[in-house]
């Protein structure tokens, strides 16, 4: 019971959040990994992952999340996502041109297929999810610093 603090919402909200937040996170990861087979992809999955953390922060107060993911770590992770996408683009130069899909295509309708597309999806989801979470974190930290005055 690391989350037992006075901040945050009532006990009912906290209990339901503890049950659902893992499911939301797993659904986001599923959407990202199956982006090339079914509707979804990096953008939608990234926003769902960001929403899981926002849900946690709304229910338990900001201290429960900011001790795990600080603002610096969020901005570092976002830069790592952007660089990963750029590196995937540069890999194409081994085959001749920017953004060329040189890895093996595999057979369609399988999870490990279609070359660099799942890797790009993962990079974009990391970038979008952590970026949107950093926006929300900046808003919350601003409110907290105002209250201290």
């Amino acid at each position: 019971m690391a989350f037992e603090q006075k901040s945050g919402m009532s006990l009912i909200v906290k209990t339901i959040t503890r049950l659902t937040v893992g499911l939301i996170l797993i659904f986001g990861i599923y959407i990202v990994l199956h982006g090339h087979l079914s509707p979804g992809g990096g953008f939608a999955g990234g926003v769902i992952i960001a929403l899981a953390f926002v849900h946690l922060m709304l229910a338990f107060g900001k201290d429960a999340v900011t001790t795990r993911i600080s603002k610096e770590m969020a901005s570092n992770l976002e830069s790592i996502g952007a660089l990963m996408f750029l590196v995937i683009a540069l890999i194409g130069y081994f085959g001749g041109s920017f953004f060329l899909n040189i890895l093996s295509k595999g057979t369609p309708f399988e999870l490990f297929s279609s070359g660099t597309i799942p890797l790009s999806n993962a990079a974009i989801s990391l970038k979008v999810g952590v970026g949107l979470f950093a926006i929300f974190l900046a808003l919350v930290i601003l409110e907290g610093s105002k209250r201290e005055k």
Binding site: H36, P39, V47, V54, E78, F99, G131
Partner: protein
């Protein structure tokens, strides 16, 4: 037919969102517009867009409510009412005139031209290996577009962090 009803609903809700006095009600009304847009994407056979619009709308509502809650709305006394309204209506009328002239050149609804996309539809799965053709377009055929989008989002996050930083601590200490 259901698309017409949905669009009428969106127009009415948008007018409510613009005209209502309370800011929180206005934000909730604009959320209703967004969710109606999500249903419209489903009817138009775009499931990717429906998922993305749904989750983006939720996050957008959270941010908007964060901005407007506990903020009092000062009573706005409208000065120069006639001039403002007339100039706005004239501007909208000019826009509608040119937009209608452009609309007549477009193909009819339900029969798109599909000149570029024919290649994507025929060779998309065999060339990229991706089954979902929207993903194949944004991450393989037109990946430059996605790179630009990532740059724009990165810039937006940097801008928000710069605007919202807790500021001026050093100066305050020096003054004291």
């Amino acid at each position: 037919m259901e698309l017409h009803l949905l669009l009428l609903f969106m127009i009415i809700t948008a007018i409510i969102a613009i005209e209502v006095k309370d800011l929180l009600s206005s934000v909730v009304a604009v959320g209703a517009v967004g969710f109606a847009l999500c249903v419209a994407f489903l009817i138009l056979k775009a499931p990717d867009l429906a998922i993305t619009q749904l989750v983006v709308e939720i996050l957008c509502l959270i941010i908007l409510i964060r901005a407007t809650i506990k903020k009092d709305l000062p009573l706005v006394i409208e000065g120069r009412w006639v001039f403002n309204t007339v100039s706005t209506v004239v501007f909208v009328a000019v826009f509608l005139f040119f937009a209608y002239a452009a609309l007549r050149e477009l193909p009819q609804f339900g029969e798109p031209m599909m000149s570029v996309v024919k290649k994507y539809l025929e060779e998309g799965t065999s060339e990229t290996g991706a089954v979902n053709l929207v993903t194949a377009v944004i991450l393989d055929f037109r990946a430059y577009d996605t790179l630009g989008e990532a740059t724009v989002l990165f810039t937006a996050v940097i801008g928000i962090m710069a605007v919202l930083r807790p500021r001026g601590r050093k100066k305050v200490e020096e003054k004291e």
